[in-house]
């Protein structure tokens, strides 16, 4: 029972402190925010970073959505095809680091997808 009373005291103390600390933090943040807006107002006439976005815009020429779709499709198809077609044969290519790590274990996928019908990787 004594311990429960102690717990109650601790609760009073704890809730007070938690609220106090976060309230103080909130007040400090309001102060920081207020100062920031003052600073920004004072700095406002200098639109220095404006040209930078402008430059960025230049890098992005207008492309008709249709062409964009074609290019997108092409790249996706290319990537998909390449992943499927160009899988290197494990026997030809250089032993990878993973294969060599202590000569013990390996990425088994690399040797796993063997096509028994075609006799090929």
């Amino acid at each position: 029972m004594a311990e429960f009373m102690e717990g109650l005291n601790l609760t009073v103390l704890g809730v007070t402190i938690v609220f106090m600390v976060l309230a103080i933090l909130a007040v400090v943040l309001y102060a920081v925010g207020w100062t920031e807006r003052r600073l920004v107002e004072r700095e406002a006439p200098a639109p220095a970073p404006a040209p930078a976005p402008a430059a960025k815009v230049e890098e992005k020429p207008a492309i008709p959505p249709k062409d964009l779709a074609v290019i997108t499709a092409a790249i996706l198809a290319y990537t998909a095809e390449k992943a499927a077609q160009l899988r290197p044969l494990p026997f030809r290519r250089k032993v990878s680091d993973a294969w060599r790590l202590y000569g013990v274990q390996s990425q088994m996928e690399e040797v796993e997808d063997f096509n028994y019908e075609m006799g090929k990787w």
Binding site: F4, L10, G14, V21, L22, L29, E36
Partner: protein, 401 residues
């Protein structure tokens, strides 16, 4: 031919199967259950998978992965001296297994929970709280759940150190729970950690009924004004100011809040990207592995399979539920004070479990009114809840530690 007979006897005496206790079997099943939940339902898999599988492993008898007890009887003069403790345990219980080393050098010293807070800081954007500082108070209100759970635990017969560790589960911050429990009541570390992470992933089930019970349809429909933009300068100043203010007021929370804010400063400063990335990724991943393995290794039959563990799991629900209620009720108070501009549901996000509870709130708002977007407003209490729980842990440590 005595040799071979003796060897076979020696070998079979050392066979784990013959030394398996019922406790071990149950613990292995508990571990497997955690693994199943982690894989099948993706319940906090980054923690529950390692915790579960190492619980399985340490309950295989004689496996030499964990030879030392979690909460050993120690001669009083060395109890506080981690180096002397390890030398003593090695003398008493033989060389450390890998899980003993992880637990005693990385978790018991608090290195791992603090490094995780460091990484979390580098992952967290405190912008929503900076934009609307009053939401910080809802992060405070949700801590009421911590204290209600503590009082309930006391009433159920736990001692004050254990009760505080159980209460902090309601803060819904895994590393804070681990940090505090390790300091105050390491004997229940496994139970509090599992409870914290399990209920965190159950937030989408636990919170909605409570929120619905405490708010009206009209309240849930309240739309809020768009948050003001936050400048880079404010985001840089925030971690510095928070660290100093909280450190000066509650120094016992300084390790947790300090590491969190150093990580956040790395993130927001923009000049140490490779360190910020390391804090979020390579260091974080490695530390998370050790945290999971280390915590799981504390789940031994002799200390975990007690009625207390079941009570702790029950108290975890109390903690999460009362934290949610505390946040929502305080949200209603703020609604009244603000003249109805604040949606009280966002108070529920004060329990942390970032960003899940904020998403729960958003989903409930969308259900009532598909055009109501309060996610970012809920992120304010959400991140404030992390600080609030760290402060609550600091108070416990200052008084009890």
């Amino acid at each position: 031919m005595t040799g071979i007979v003796e060897q076979i006897i020696a070998f079979f005496q050392g066979m784990g199967l013959l030394n398996l206790t019922w406790g071990n079997v149950v613990m292995i099943l508990v571990g497997l259950a955690l693994v199943y939940l982690a894989i099948r339902y993706e319940m906090e898999p980054l923690l529950l998978l390692p915790i579960g599988i190492s619980a399985v492993l340490v309950n295989i008898p004689l496996g030499h992965l964990a030879n030392w007890p979690i909460a050993p009887e120690l001669p009083e003069e060395i109890a506080e001296n981690i180096f002397a403790v390890m030398t003593y345990l090695n003398q008493q219980y033989g060389p450390p297994g890998i899980f003993d080393l992880i637990y005693y050098t990385l978790i018991r010293t608090e290195i791992v929970p603090l490094l995780i807070f460091f990484g979390l800081g580098a992952m967290t954007d405190f912008g929503p709280m900076i934009a609307d500082p009053k939401t910080a108070l809802m992060g405070a209100a949700a801590q009421i759940g911590v204290f209600i759970a503590m009082l309930t635990a006391l009433a159920l017969g736990f001692n004050l150190h254990q009760a505080a560790s159980i209460g902090i589960i309601g803060g819904a911050d895994g590393p804070t729970t681990i940090y505090l429990t390790t300091k105050l009541a390491p004997e229940i570390l496994g139970a509090t950690a599992v409870a914290a992470y399990s209920y965190m992933s159950l937030v989408p089930l636990i919170q909605p009924p409570i929120i619905r019970a405490l708010t009206s349809k009209e309240e849930r429909k309240i739309r809020m004004e768009q948050l003001r933009p936050v400048s880079k300068r404010e985001k840089i100043i925030f971690p510095i100011v928070s660290m100093i203010v909280i450190g000066l007021l509650v120094p016992s929370a300084a390790p947790l809040v300090g590491m969190l804010m150093i990580g956040n400063l790395f993130r927001e400063s923009g000049v140490v990207e490779r360190l910020s990335k390391a804090a979020q990724e390579e260091l974080m991943n490695i530390v998370t592995i050790f945290l999971g393995l280390g915590v799981g290794s504390t789940m031994r039959a002799e200390s975990f399979l007690t009625q207390e563990t079941l009570m702790i799991l029950g108290l975890g629900v109390v903690a999460f539920a009362s934290a949610t209620a505390g946040g929502v009720l305080f949200g209603k108070l703020m609604k009244h004070l603000s003249g109805g501009k604040i949606n009280p549901m966002i108070g529920a996000a004060g329990v942390s479990a970032v960003p899940m509870s904020a998403r729960v709130v958003q989903r409930m708002a969308s259900e009532e009114d598909p055009g109501n977007f309060i996610l970012m407003h809920a992120m304010g209490p959400n991140v404030a809840g992390v600080i609030g729980t760290a402060v609550a842990a600091g108070v416990f440590l200052a008084v009890l530690g």
